[in-house]
Amino acid sequence: MADALFWIGGGLIVAGAMLSVLGAAGVLRFPDVYTRIHAASLTDTGGATLMLLGMGLLGPFGLITLKLLLVWAFIMLTSPAAANALANAAFGSGHRPRIGNFQIMGEDKATDAAPESAGKERA
């Protein structure tokens, strides 16, 4: 039983870590602010959930479980709100979502630097 819990918990932690790494890759590779926020915030909450679940299985049941639960509630509350605020701020400062097809990777940087021009590329 304890052995099984160890493996399941460990597996969940590794999965959570993998998800976070994927999120980081998304932040680096996605084309505009909004998709990047999307990548970061979703994988952040998801990864943290998996890891906390794993830790809860590894640790003894009791006060520690309660603390992990509180941490989880806190993350579920703050991380989406932060993502929302970030997107709001980006929108407010003139960044527009890029919609349509992108073939030329080199263009990304140019449009990031000049957010106003992003609107022109709309399909």
Binding site: F74, L77, T78, A81, N84, A85, N88, F91, G92
Partner: protein, 356 residues
Amino acid sequence: MTAPVLEASFALNVALLLMLVVLAAAVVWTRSLLAAILLMSVYSLVSATWLMVMDAPDVAFTEAVVGAGISTIVALGAILLTRGEAVRVSWKRQVVPGLLAGLVGGLLIYAMSGLPDFGDPASPANSHVGRAYLETAKRDIGAPNVVTAVLGSYRGFDTLGETVVILAACIGVALMLGFGPRATLAPPAGAPGDHHVVLRVTAKMLVPLIILFALYVQFHGDLGAGGGFQAGVIAAVAIILHALVFGLRETTAAIPPQAARAVAALGVVVYAGVGIVCIVNGGGFLDYDHLLTPQIEAMIPAGLLGDPDKPHHWGQYFGILAIELGVLMTVSATMITIFYGFAGRTIDAIAAELRR
């Protein structure tokens, strides 16, 4: 001397330290101040992790709330009010500073050879006073967290000085930025173009929770990591969050800057007052064993805290509780004052000052 056995966590130690070196190098290299500040914030988080590996949870906690929290906020406020980029320094102007830093570094490397090995339990540092605290803290003070015992009681005078340093910073920042034209930070709710409903709702939920957490940290300091300083910063963060979301006008209506400054001063009064009470009751300054007169001590029910048969150091217990309260007051009020100082100044305020 034979080398001590290194643990498995040594690898973690090395990895984290290398990350710190990379971060520091990036700070040296970058010209963007925004990047430098964020890198320093990451640096603080990594070093907080490292401090956990070094068995220093109290310090790690402090480093996380201070380095990654307050320092970052203050520094971001400062670059908003000044400039986001440093001017490039020509390599000629870097030669002499490089030589100076190299000189100090060389001296340090030479000196480090005289230090005991890492992790050596028999080194002078780890065997004299430090070891003695571990053996006597439970007997003298009664708190399981030895760091709290040393901080609050054995070296309580240092902590008083530390609290006074915080008050000095409060006075300093208030003198520099606390007067003159003020800004209001965020637009009032319901203004056109206001999209921050989600943020406001979340913040409304979070502020009381954060303050609750601060109180937990405050009173848990005897048993685990935490104490007045960390709790003070956390409580201040709740207020700062409120100001960021609801605007400075709302927050200063609840906590006026004068009130914040007064609380900061009162915190030191509480701390030093505990010391004076000890003198009045016949002990030395901050000698908590004389904090309570025997009459008062007799009134405390024996079973107030856990086992009634175990002797309790009521003076030490209440003394540390009281001084931690003083620290909480000064630290939280000072952090709020510092935030008010930076947030209350905007470019408009600068322009007004310049016209004056």
